[in-house]
Symmetry: C2
Subunit: 656 residues, 2 copies
C-alpha cells in the first residue's frame, strides 16, 4: 500500500485539452486563452476546491507553479482559463482537495434553515478556525480577522447574525486562502502547452515566383527585381512573402513548359527540382543573385514590415550534389539507376525522394536540419514545407523540436493536402500552420461543416488552418473560367473564415482563370516558365485584398479562427457567421453570397445574446467593405447581396 | 537522437478502447469479443500491415504475445477482434510496419495496367523474394514456393501470367508470413483488459429479507426458513439471491417502523444499522442462525444453482464493536459524541460513517478487506455494495484489485444512484456491475436515450448495468398505486433491455404498490419490520418472471446488453428494439407498450438487413411470451399491444 495515498479523496479525471494523452502539446499564441476543464469529484457530500497549476518549462529548469482557481460548471465538470504572455513551452496540471470549512458552512446553513440546534456546529466551526490560526505563518490583518470570527462564534449573541458572519464571503475567502490544503490530489500528468508568436495565428501570405519579377520579356527575375515588387505587396497589407525554392534547378530530366517530360532549350525547369552542379539546398540559383542580394531582399522586406518565407522541399534533382556525396540517402534500382519519385502509375523523373529508411538516417536528419539552420542564419523565420506528409512524422517531430529549442519564433507551414489523420498528425508533431481543404469546400453546407470541424472539435487545440483560394498547383473549379465575383467570394471567405490566409499572385489579383485542359492547374504555369507581370496594375480584386487586410488589422475579431459561430439564414446561397472578440469589444456579422452569378437575399437570425444585445434593442451594423450603416432592432434581419457590386457584408456590430 | 527510432515510419494513434489513457481496464466476460481500432498510417504512399498483440498478464510473469492481423476499414482506421477464453487480466497493443512487398505489388499492378515497361520492376520483386529466402529459417514447402516464384520472374515467359502470379493471394500471404518484419512500430502502451465470469454480464437477481422468511406472524425468519423459500426463487429462474445485511443490528438510536426516530419495543431495526454487542460485520444476527445454519443455506442454494449475494455496507451502528476498538476510525464532535451520518438537514442517527481521512487508514482498509475475505471464506462470491459512492474511489480500486488478485471470480455490484461521473468512476475502478437510473426512465425517449448512452458510448467498455424495477428503498411512481400491467412493463423492460436485472421480492411479484405518503418508498417497509409472506402464492407477474428467465436462458441474444438497436415505430407509447446474436443465430424483435392503461398499435420498421433478410423475403416472428407466430414479408409491420393481456411481444425472428 506504499504508493497509495489513502487519505486523498478528491478525484480528477478527463482533463482537457490534452492531445494523445498529453504526448503532444496544445498550441496557443501569446495572450490567447486556454480553457481547461476536468471532471472533479469526491465520495460523499463534502465540498471541493480545485485549481489549475501552470508553469513555464525551460530545458533543465522549470518556472514556479502558479495557481488558478477552478469553477464548477455542471455535472462535476470544472473550468479555469489560463494564458501566457511569452512564447515558450509551458505545462499545466490540476489540484483538488476536500474543503472542510465549506463543507461545514454548507451544513451550518442547512441545519440553521431547518431550525436545528446548531450549538455543536458552532463549536466545530470554531475548532476549524482555531486549527487555521495555529499556523504560525498567519499574522497581521489575517490573524485579526480570524480572531474576530472566533469571538463572534464564542459570544454568539445573535444566532442569525453569527450564522450570516460564518457564511460571509469575507470569511469564506479568507479561510480558502489561509486554510492548510491537506490531502491535495494532484492530477498525475503535466500536460504540455506551446505558446507561439501571434503571427502563427494571424497572418496574410503572398506567394510569388521571384524569377517572374523582371520587367522585360525573356529576362530572369532577380532578388533586386523582387525588391522593386515588395512595396506593391506591402501596400496590399500582407505580412508574409513566400518564395518557391530559390535554389539551383536540376538539368537532368528537367521538365519543360506545361510539365512536358522533356524541356526545351532555355526552359528554366521547376524550382522544386532542387540542386545541380551549381549547388543544392544551401545554394542560390545564380540567376536570382548571390547571398548579398538575398540579404538585401530580406532587409528590404523588413523595412516594409514583411517577412520572407522560404520553401523547404526535401527532394533532389538527379544532379543534386547529395546524390554523389550521399548515394546511401537514395534508393538504387537493380539496373544501377536511382529511384525517382512516383505515385504509380505517375512518374516524377526530375525529382528523387530521399530514402528515410537509410541506415545513415541520423546523418541525413542532421544534414536536413542544417539546411533550416542555414537559412535561419540568413534571416529567414518562416518555412513553407513542401509535401511534409511524404517524410516520416518522427523526423518532423524531432526537427521542429530541435529548431524551436534554439529559435522558438520559427514558423513552419505544412503543405499537405492529404488524408485527415495525416494532416492532423503533422500539426500534432509541431507544424505551426497547415494548408487545408478550404480550396475545395464551396457550398454553404461544406464550408460550415469543415469550419466547424476545424474550430469546434479537438483540432482547434493544435491545428491552425491557413486558407488559400489558389496555389501554383491549384486553380480550383470555383475560379477556372470565372469572373471577378468568384475571386472576391473565395478571397473574402478565406480572409474572414480563417485568421491565416494566403494567395498566389499576381495571377490571383489579376483574375487569371485559364486551366490546363482537364486539370485543376494553371495553363502555362509559372512552375515551368518565366513570366513578366505588370505589378502596378490596379484591379478591383487588389483593392478588396487591400481593404480586407486593413479590416483584419484594425479589428481583432478577425485575428482568431476559433471565435466563429454560424448563423441561420434561409437562403442556401448565403453563408452567414459571427466573429466575436468580447475582450476588445469587436463584434462582426458576416454574410457572403456564394453564387457569383446572381443576387441573393434572405433573412438572417442575428445571435443577439452573443452580441450582448437585448431583444428590441437598437444596434448598428456597419459594413466595413461598403462603409454603409444600418440600424436594426430585430432578431431576424434582411440582407441582399449582388455579387457584381460586392458579394459580402462585413458588418461590424456597433451600439446605436 | 538515441531514443529515437528513425527508421520506423508507421504511426499508430487513437487506439480504442482505452479508458482514461489506459489507466483502467476495459471489461469483458469469457468469449465476449473486443473490437480494437486504431488510426494507422505512414508517410508517403507505401503499404502498411498491422496487428493487435494480445497476451495474458499474471503477477510476476506474462503470457506470450499472440498476433491478430488488423484490417483497414476507412480513413486510416484499422480494426481487429480479440477475445479471451478464461477469466483474468490481459493486455493488448498494436504493431504496424511498412510492407515493402505489398508496396511493390501495388506499383507493379499500376504500371502494368498503364502499359509501362516493367522489366526493372520484376528485378526489384526478385530482389525482395531473394532477401526473404536468405533467411536460414525458411525451408520445406515455403522455400520451394519462393524459389518457384523466383523462377517465374526469371523466365517471365508471359508477362500477363508473371504479373498475375506476383499478385496472387498465395504469394501475398506467403510473403506476409515469411517476410522479415523490419522497422516495426509498436504502440507505446499496453492497454489492460479484464475478463470476468459470464455471470458478471448475464444474471437475474432476487432480493429478499431473510427475517421475513418465517411462516408465522411475529416470528423472526431464520436461515432454515430461507432454505424453504429458495426453491420458489429457483423455480422463477433466478441466478443470484441477494440478502440485505445479515449481521447483528444496533440497539442505540435504532429506527422504528416507517423510519421512526425512536424504535418501539420489539422493533427489529434496519439491517443496515450494522453491529451491536453481539458483533459486527463478521457476525450473524443471532435470530437468523449460526455459521452452521449459514453454511446450510449456501449449500442449499448451490444445489438449486443459486448463488447467495451478501450486502457489504461500510457503516456502523453506534454500538458496533469498532466504535470502542477503533475510535480513531470515526469522527468525534466537540461535545464528545460520535458523528452520525447526515446529508444536511437529514440525519441518520442509527448509523455512523467511517472516517476515511483517519491517520490509521491503512489498518482501516485492511480490516474492511478482511470482512470481504471472511465471507468469501464462508462461500460467498457476490457482494452488493451499499452506497459505494460515499467511500473513497481509491479504496475500492485497491480493495477490488486485491480481492481479484486471489479470487478473480468475485462479483461486486455497486449500489450507487448518484451523479453520472461518480457512477462511471465506480465502474472504472473495478465494480463488475452497477445499479442504474433505469428505475426512473419511463418514457420511450428517456429509455432510448439512456440505453443508447449505456450501450453505444465508451461506457459499454467498462460499465455493466443491472436494471432493477424496485428495491427496498424505491417504490417508483411507475409502480405506486399501479396494477399488474405496470409491473409487467417494468419487468419486461428490465429483463430485455439489460442482460443483468433484478427485483426486490416478494413485494414485486405480489404487486405491492402502496407508498409512504409523499415518498417514493414502500409503506410499512421491511427495512424496519418483519413480514410474513405467502411464498408459494401464484401471480401472473410470477408466471411472467419465470417465462422471461426461461427465455433469457434459452436465447443468447438476451445474454448481452450491448447488442441492442432501437427500431422506428410511429407510436410514442410503444418502444421497439432488436437484440441480435449473429454467432448463435439468435435474433429478436421486441415491442413493449409503455402505457399500462390503454391498448396501442403502430407500424414498426423491421431492420431487415440486420436480421440477414432481403426485402420481400418471408420470415416468421415467433412471440415467445404468447407462443404466437406471424409470417411477415415487409419492412414495415403492424403490432398491437393490449397491456391487460400482455404489454409486450418478444418476437424471435425465424426463417420462414
Amino acid at each position: 500500500m506504499k504508493e497509495i495515498e489513502g487519505k486523498k479523496r478528491a478525484t480528477i479525471d478527463n482533463v482537457l485539452p490534452q492531445i494523445n494523452c498529453g504526448k503532444y502539446p496544445i498550441k496557443r499564441v501569446i495572450n490567447e486563452p486556454v480553457r481547461i476543464t476536468a471532471d472533479i469529484f469526491v465520495d460523499g457530500h463534502d465540498k471541493l476546491k480545485a485549481a489549475v497549476l501552470f508553469r513555464e518549462v525551460r530545458s533543465g529548469t522549470s518556472g514556479q507553479w502558479k495557481e488558478y482557481p477552478m469553477q464548477l460548471i455542471t455535472n462535476d465538470n470544472w473550468e479555469a482559463y489560463i494564458h501566457a504572455r511569452e512564447i515558450g513551452n509551458y505545462e499545466f496540471t490540476i489540484a483538488a482537495w476536500v474543503d472542510h470549512f465549506s463543507t461545514w458552512q454548507y451544513g451550518l446553513k442547512k441545519k440553521y434553515e431547518d431550525n436545528q440546534d446548531i450549538a455543536i456546529e458552532l463549536l466545530i466551526g470554531a475548532e476549524q478556525i482555531e486549527n487555521t490560526l495555529s499556523n504560525p505563518s498567519i499574522s497581521g490583518a489575517h490573524k485579526k480577522s480570524l480572531q474576530q470570527a472566533l469571538a463572534v462564534l464564542d459570544a454568539n449573541e445573535n444566532e442569525e447574525k453569527t450564522v450570516a458572519y460564518m457564511l460571509s464571503d469575507e470569511l469564506s475567502d479568507l479561510m480558502a486562502l489561509l486554510n492548510d490544503k491537506e490531502k491535495v490530489t494532484i492530477y498525475p500528468k503535466n500536460l504540455p502547452l506551446k505558446v507561439e508568436l501571434k503571427l502563427a495565428l494571424f497572418s496574410a501570405w503572398y506567394e510569388f515566383f521571384p524569377r517572374s519579377a523582371a520587367q522585360e520579356e525573356g529576362k530572369h527575375g532577380t532578388f533586386a527585381d523582387c525588391e522593386r515588387v515588395l512595396p506593391e505587396i506591402a501596400k496590399m497589407g500582407f505580412d508574409v512573402v513566400y518564395l518557391p525554392p530559390i535554389h539551383p534547378i536540376g538539368e537532368m530530366h528537367r521538365k519543360g513548359r506545361n510539365n512536358a517530360t522533356v524541356a526545351g532549350s532555355g526552359d528554366p525547369g521547376s524550382p522544386w527540382a532542387i540542386g545541380s552542379k551549381e549547388g543544392g539546398h544551401k545554394a542560390i540559383h545564380p540567376k536570382l543573385g548571390n547571398f548579398s542580394d538575398f540579404n538585401g531582399l530580406v532587409k528590404k522586406a523588413e523595412s516594409l514590415n514583411l517577412k520572407i518565407a522560404l520553401d523547404f522541399a526535401i527532394q533532389c534533382a538527379p544532379d543534386h550534389p547529395y546524390v554523389k556525396e550521399h548515394p546511401d540517402w537514395f534508393t538504387w534500382r537493380p539496373d544501377g539507376t536511382v529511384q525517382y519519385a512516383e505515385n504509380p502509375p505517375k512518374k516524377y523523373q526530375d525529382v528523387l525522394p530521399v530514402n528515410f529508411e537509410t541506415n545513415d538516417w541520423e546523418n541525413l536528419w542532421k544534414e536536413l536540419k542544417s539546411i533550416v539552420d542555414f537559412w535561419i542564419d540568413k534571416g529567414i523565420k518562416i518555412f513553407r514545407v513542401d509535401n511534409p506528409h511524404t517524410k516520416p512524422f518522427s523526423f518532423w517531430e524531432w526537427l521542429i523540436r530541435e529548431i524551436h529549442s534554439k529559435n522558438p519564433d520559427i514558423i513552419f507551414l505544412a503543405e499537405a493536402f492529404t488524408r485527415p489523420r495525416i494532416m492532423e498528425k503533422l500539426a500534432k508533431v509541431g507544424f505551426n500552420q497547415s494548408y487545408t481543404y478550404f480550396t475545395w469546400r464551396t457550398t454553404k453546407e461544406e464550408l460550415q461543416e469543415y469550419v466547424t470541424e476545424l474550430t469546434q472539435t479537438a483540432k482547434r487545440e493544435y491545428f491552425r488552418p491557413n486558407f488559400w483560394p489558389n496555389t501554383p498547383d491549384i486553380l480550383p473549379s470555383t475560379l477556372e473560367d470565372k469572373e471577378e465575383p468568384s475571386f472576391l467570394i473565395s478571397l473574402i471567405l478565406a480572409a474572414s473564415l480563417s485568421s491565416n490566409f494566403g494567395i498566389y499572385g499576381p495571377v490571383f489579383e489579376f483574375g487569371l482563370n485559364e486551366a490546363y485542359p482537364g486539370k485543376e492547374e494553371y495553363i502555362d504555369s509559372e512552375k515551368y516558365e518565366i513570366k513578366v507581370w505588370e505589378w502596378e496594375k490596379k484591379t478591383k480584386i487588389k483593392e478588396i485584398i487591400t481593404r480586407l487586410n486593413e479590416i483584419r488589422k484594425e479589428n481583432t475579431a478577425f485575428q482568431s479562427t476559433y471565435n466563429i459561430t454560424f448563423c441561420e439564414i434561409e437562403n442556401p446561397n448565403i453563408i452567414c457567421f459571427s466573429k466575436i472578440d468580447d475582450e476588445n469589444d469587436n463584434r462582426f456579422l458576416i454574410a457572403v453570397n456564394l453564387d457569383p452569378h446572381h443576387s441573393h437575399h434572405g433573412w438572417v437570425k442575428v445571435p443577439l445574446a452573443a452580441y450582448g444585445l437585448k431583444s428590441g434593442e437598437k444596434f448598428i451594423v456597419h459594413d466595413l467593405l461598403s462603409n454603409e450603416k444600418y440600424t436594426w432592432d430585430q432578431e431576424w434581419n434582411y440582407v441582399e447581396l449582388n455579387p457584381y457590386k460586392m458579394p459580402a457584408h462585413l458588418f461590424r456590430v456597433e451600439t446605436a
